[in-house]
């Protein structure tokens, strides 16, 4: 057998193993999603930190929600924005939403509408655009946009997504710059949190927390206390589930929400992967010993 045949055989073998793993992952995701076992966990302390920050805001305070993800990362981040928005509406905090992604606009409208409906259903809060929340929408410029908002928020966004002028908008009363925010949260699928730290909170001095995909989460530990550039963060779907748990506990109701619904699938896939990896290692070690014995 020559080198090229060996290589193609190896590729074929790897291909088969890959496909088997793909099928297993699919099953591990789908089965628990259908069976819906109840799996609430104890919230992580960084999630508690974020929750406390929002929970201690006074009614009428302003919280910026930077909606920096596209539909592709929605599976992890959409439930996160949803639950934080619901918490804002419950507390009477005014959420100010903006994005650095054009593709996020429709998703943004959708999540606000859904959270508003939930807030009305759960706590009887009737929220109005321009009064109880504002969707500023999208402007180009990334870090320059943050600097512009820090200098003049209503200049950077002269109109909101529905073309209402921001100048005398009741929802933005007292907010002329990022300096006037009581809290900001970046929901990020990529490196926008670092941008918000460098050009936003560090420069204009407002407290910042973040919610990121699980992949991005390790990037943020460096900014957490003692550095303190981030006050807390929610990591991946687990972060969103933790927040849902905290919000439900504050209402003394059973834990529910889309993120908690996804936890059993995530648990199953993680456990399956751990077992697969352990199995592969046992096999490798056994192979080594068996090889030695033969010699």
């Amino acid at each position: 057998m020559n080198a090229s045949q060996t290589q193609s055989k190896k590729l074929r073998q790897a291909g088969i193993v890959r496909r088997v793993i793909f099928v297993l992952v699919a099953v591990a995701v789908i089965v628990p999603y259908i069976l819906k076992p109840n799996l609430p966990g104890e919230p992580n302390h960084w999630a508690e930190e974020v929750y406390k920050r929002v929970d201690t805001l006074k009614p009428g305070s302003h919280m910026m929600l930077a909606f920096n993800f596209e539909p592709s990362s929605g599976a992890e981040l959409y439930p996160m924005v949803r639950v934080v928005l619901m918490h804002c509406f419950k507390k009477g905090v005014v959420p100010v939403l903006m994005t650095h992604y054009t593709n996020a606009l429709n998703l943004m409208k959708q999540v606000v509408a859904e959270s508003a409906t939930q807030a009305k259903k759960k706590w009887g809060k009737d929220v109005q655009p321009g009064k109880d929340y504002v969707i500023l929408g999208y402007r180009p410029g990334d870090e320059m946009l943050i600097v512009n908002m820090g200098e003049n928020l209503k200049g950077a966004f002269d109109k909101d997504l529905d073309n209402r002028l921001t100048q005398n908008m009741p929802a933005l009363k007292g907010v002329n710059s990022l300096r006037d925010l009581d809290l900001a949260m970046d929901f990020a699928s990529s490196g926008t949190t670092q941008m918000w730290i460098a050009y936003g909170s560090d420069k204009f001095g407002f407290p910042l927390v973040a919610g990121t995909t699980a992949v991005q989460a390790p990037d943020l530990y460096i900014y957490l206390p003692p550095s303190g550039q981030l006050k807390g963060f929610l990591g991946g779907l687990r972060g969103a589930a933790d927040y849902e748990t905290l919000l439900c506990r504050s209402d003394n109701v059973a834990v529910e929400g889309p993120a908690n619904k996804g936890m059993p699938s995530q648990s199953a896939v993680h456990v399956m992967l751990v077992l697969l990896i352990l199995g592969a290692n046992v096999r490798m070690i056994y192979g080594k010993f068996a090889g030695k014995r033969k010699v």
């Binding site: 799996l39 104890e42 539909p71 180009p140 600097v147 991946g236 936890m263 990896i277």
Partner: protein, 229 residues
């Protein structure tokens, strides 16, 4: 020729670089004005860049179709998709381009564009992203082998973090250690201790490398990006 293709661009790079550096340290309103001006230029240049991108895309796909190259059907699909979205965007519910819809009826008609976004674009991108889960599983399975001490440590850390990130770990932890929070605490230790130390080391290296690279570009020592040495 060298003056036009090398000296002038290098002067522009140097001046803009120094200006950008200086505005970081100057809080005066004049500095903000300069920054705003530079941002506007950047936006204008970005606008022109869009034409270059569109031209490149169209040219490449047209060539593929003309020459019936492998996968030319996908190129056709690119044009059909783009044409559809451009058409419904310009049609704008009958209002034509550059206008907002003036009645609720037209807003509903405009939904054609939103429909394309909501029911074609969103599911497609979400599908591609979800493939990540499958690829991650297969890559992890292939790679995590305790071949030596370092790889063994990595493996143990990975297993702890993988379990610590899901609620099921609390049950395992309770059964094995008699305490719910062992995996969670261990995960936080790994992430906030060894992970953070490595991250800081890599970040310092990357930052210094970036400064050094910026200096090379600013002073014209590095010019490969202009197409020459």
């Amino acid at each position: 020729m060298i003056f036009k293709k090398a000296t002038i661009p290098l002067i522009i790079v140097f001046v803009m670089g120094v200006l950008g550096f200086a505005t970081q340290y100057v809080p005066h309103p004049a500095s903000a004005t300069v920054t705003e001006e530079i941002t506007s230029w950047f936006k204008v240049i970005g606008g022109f860049g869009l034409f270059i991108g569109a031209y490149s895309l169209i040219h490449m796909h047209l060539t593929r179709i003309k020459r019936r190259m492998e996968g030319w059907g996908y190129s056709m699909f690119t044009f059909i998709g783009a044409a559809f979205m451009i058409f419904v965007g310009l049609y704008n519910g009958g209002d034509g381009p550059l206008r907002e819809a003036s009645s609720q009826e037209q807003v509903t008609q405009k939904m054609m564009f939103d429909w394309g976004y909501q029911y074609v674009f969103v599911p497609c991108t979400a599908t591609i992203f979800s493939i990540l889960a499958f690829f991650m599983a297969s890559a992890a399975f292939r790679t995590f082998r305790a071949r030596n001490l370092a790889a063994g440590l990595l493996l143990v850390a990975a297993l702890i973090v993988m379990l610590g990130r899901v609620p099921v770990s609390e049950w395992f932890s309770l059964q094995v250690f008699g305490d719910k929070g062992v995996f969670d605490t261990a995960t936080d230790f790994i992430m906030e201790g060894p992970n953070l130390a490595a991250k800081r080391g890599i970040t310092l290296g990357i930052s210094l490398g970036a400064i050094s690279q910026a200096l090379r570009i600013l002073f014209g020592i590095e010019r490969s990006y202009m197409g020459g040495d």
